[in-house]
């Protein structure tokens, strides 16, 4: 009989060494290049994968335990929220449109992030980053799932969320976040890590998740807020991974520096253009505001990001050039974006409205250099016309930027009265851009962006109607056909908030919950 000898418990460091690094092996009958075929083509040189430091030293077994605990807490709260008609506690029914924007614009990106991290996790030869990517891949699919579960309760009562993933792949403005992530996952593993792991998760995450989560907290949305807290510790891990990756790549070879700088420049701009949606959400869609977009940009990018890039200077990395243009746009971005959605309210999966008097006063105070001069006259005009029964619905499709796919709504840096037009001739065709930065991204890799699925052009090519539609018949209504293709119902999922079923139902249900009827 063997003697049982009590084994000493492994310390954290040894555990990590055995259960992460120790799981790797050197192939004996296959070449490394064949097993990891995507490691060289981006031009990044890695000499020693063992130099990778994992700041968390989290092992897979501990990961499962930890996440399961968070999951139990989250679902207990979601259950309570659902059972107590938590949806009636939000500030007012306009808030629900923030939830619609989130579920159709952001949650599908969590799923794509899952795919992206699964892919790069498979490709990295180092066991440290491979396991870190595996954990992030699992986090991201968990985020997608928990968001869908948290928000599904709203879907039982309100319009526009019923087919969010279908919408994400089709609706004109959702091609903005979709194409952003498609661009990232079709890049190589290193560019993916810089684009999503660093630029998005590290540099810009506070401008995406914090506004939604604090917006939820300010507006009584327990479901979304709880999800946000449950994701917080994951986000901390993702941010650390993003920063670690970039420092690792930069230290491995000086030739990596200019490549990484180009990626940071590109992805800061790409990410910022997606944040246009967040800017308008913060300034226009939250009934109870948290802070203005401009304030958020100043705190999270100019201050925190400024300190970050100062820190990265010793690796040879500098602040992206686009920061100068973004600083000029911060007085205008949210107003131009909300005007756009007000224009195209007939083709969207959420409702829009004009701010009331008090909200306009808030906008004037937060944007003293721009709101009264450029945007208030426009919005007062729209409000007056709507009151006369002449609400503006723009039914003509806009020109789009080839790179960010946003309609050409942005003005010249320094002149908010002129649309910024840029164009390039490439192989006999013209391509148009909203900015010098989107133009430069195209010029760096035209072969990629000439394939862009631009919703407006796709509609005109006849690719966005339900199967069997004949656009040549007498009296053909293209908007109606496009909405069918989006699986949105005219008059219910779109148009102004004021005439919406959401507004009417919410008032009625809240009345039943708070008054004697």
């Amino acid at each position: 009989m063997d003697m049982q000898v009590a084994k000493k418990k492994l310390g954290l460091k040894e555990r990590y060494a055995v259960m992460t690094r120790g799981l790797d092996w050197k192939p004996s009958y296959q070449k490394m290049e064949d097993i990891y075929p995507y490691m060289a083509y981006e031009g990044i040189k890695i000499h020693d994968w063992d130099k990778w430091e994992d700041p968390f030293r989290l092992t897979m077994d501990a990961y499962w335990k930890y996440q399961a605990e968070k999951e139990r807490k989250l679902y207990a709260i979601i259950d309570a929220f659902n059972q107590n008609n938590g949806h009636l506690n939000v500030t007012d029914a306009r808030y629900l449109n923030t939830v619609k924007l989130f579920i159709s614009g952001i949650s599908p990106l969590e799923y794509v992030a899952h795919r992206g991290f699964s892919h790069v996790g498979r490709q990295f030869p180092g066991p440290g980053p491979r396991v870190a990517c595996l954990m992030q891949a699992l986090d991201e699919i968990r985020h997608a799932q928990t968001q869908v579960h948290s928000i599904s309760n709203y879907n039982k009562y309100y319009n526009g969320m019923h087919d969010f993933h279908h919408a994400h792949d089709r609706v004109w403005f959702l091609s903005v976040p979709k194409s952003f992530f498609d661009d990232a996952i079709t890049a190589g593993p290193f560019e993916f890590m810089v684009s999503i792991g660093f630029s998005f998760e590290y540099v810009l995450t506070n401008l995406l998740f914090v506004p939604f989560v604090s917006g939820a907290a300010y507006n009584g949305d327990m479901g979304t807020m709880t999800f946000g807290f449950s994701a917080q510790s994951d986000e901390a891990r993702h941010m650390t991974l993003g920063l670690e990756v970039i420092k690792f790549i930069l230290q491995q070879d000086p030739a990596n520096v200019p490549i990484v700088q180009r990626w940071i420049d590109k992805w800061t701009w790409r990410g910022y253009r997606v944040l246009t949606l967040v800017a308008m959400m913060m300034d226009y869609m939250l009934p109870k505001r948290t802070m203005s977009w401009k304030e958020a940009w100043e705190v999270y990018f100019e201050e925190n990001g400024g300190a970050l890039f100062k820190d990265l200077a010793r690796y040879g990395i500098k602040m992206p050039d686009c920061a100068a243009q973004i600083a000029l746009e911060k007085d205008h971005l949210s107003h131009q974006a909300w005007s756009t959605f007000y224009n195209y309210a007939a083709a969207s999966n959420f409702h829009t409205w004009m701010p009331d008097e008090e909200e306009m006063a808030w906008l004037s105070s937060k944007y003293p250099n721009s709101y009264d001069k450029y945007y208030r006259p426009r919005m007062e005009f729209w409000r007056e016309e709507a009151a006369k029964g002449n609400r503006f619905y723009n039914k003509t499709l806009p020109m789009l930027c080839q790179t960010c796919q946003i309609p050409m709504i942005f003005t010249e840096p320094g002149d908010p009265t002129k649309i910024c037009y840029r164009e390039v001739d490439y192989k006999g065709d013209k391509y148009h851009f909203c900015s010098d930065h989107c133009k430069k991204i195209f010029e760096d890799e035209p072969e990629k962006y000439v394939q862009a699925w631009l919703p407006v052009h796709q509609i005109y090519q006849g690719n966005c109607f339900p199967e069997g539609t004949d656009p040549t018949v007498e009296g053909f209504d293209p908007l109606a056909a496009v909405l069918k293709y989006y699986n949105l119902e005219f008059g219910r999922d779109n148009l102004d908030f004021d005439i919406s079923e959401d507004k009417k139902n919410f008032a009625e249900w809240r009345g039943q919950a708070t008054k004697n009827v």
């Binding site: 995507y38 890049a187 426009r378 503006f392 050409m408 164009e423 035209p446 407006v456």
Partner: protein, 119 residues
């Protein structure tokens, strides 16, 4: 610079003129009138008379704006790809030199939008 790829990377562009069923794209913007958030995209046949766009298309598109009825088309200034340009209303798009995905804009001197805000 070329795209980084593991092998030959060549794919057809998504928006060549052959895909628009005989039409070509034309983008039109109205300067100083940002009530319309962006310039518009249109699929027009190259044989279309330019004057038919002015008389038949633009009123439906820009007519909501109180300035539109005040436009004196004789005084309108036109630009193509940002450069001054003179269209001939009686000629077709093709005869006016307009190609697929060209962008034109017009300025209407004296009209500067809602309360002069360029809206």
């Amino acid at each position: 610079m070329a795209v980084a790829a593991v092998k030959t990377y060549e794919f057809p562009p998504a928006d060549t003129v052959d895909k628009f069923h005989g039409a070509q794209l034309l983008y039109i913007g109205w300067e100083d009138h940002l009530l319309f958030c962006a310039p518009f995209a249109f699929p027009f046949p190259p044989t279309m008379r330019f004057g038919d766009i002015l008389a038949g298309v633009l009123p439906g598109v820009f007519g909501y704006h109180p300035d539109f009825a005040k436009i004196d088309w004789a005084k309108a200034e036109w630009f193509k790809s940002g450069q001054p340009w003179q269209p001939d209303a009686d000629k077709s798009l093709a005869e006016n030199g307009l190609k697929h995905k060209d962008v034109i804009r017009f300025r209407t001197p004296g009209l500067t939008g809602i309360k002069g805000s360029c809206s």
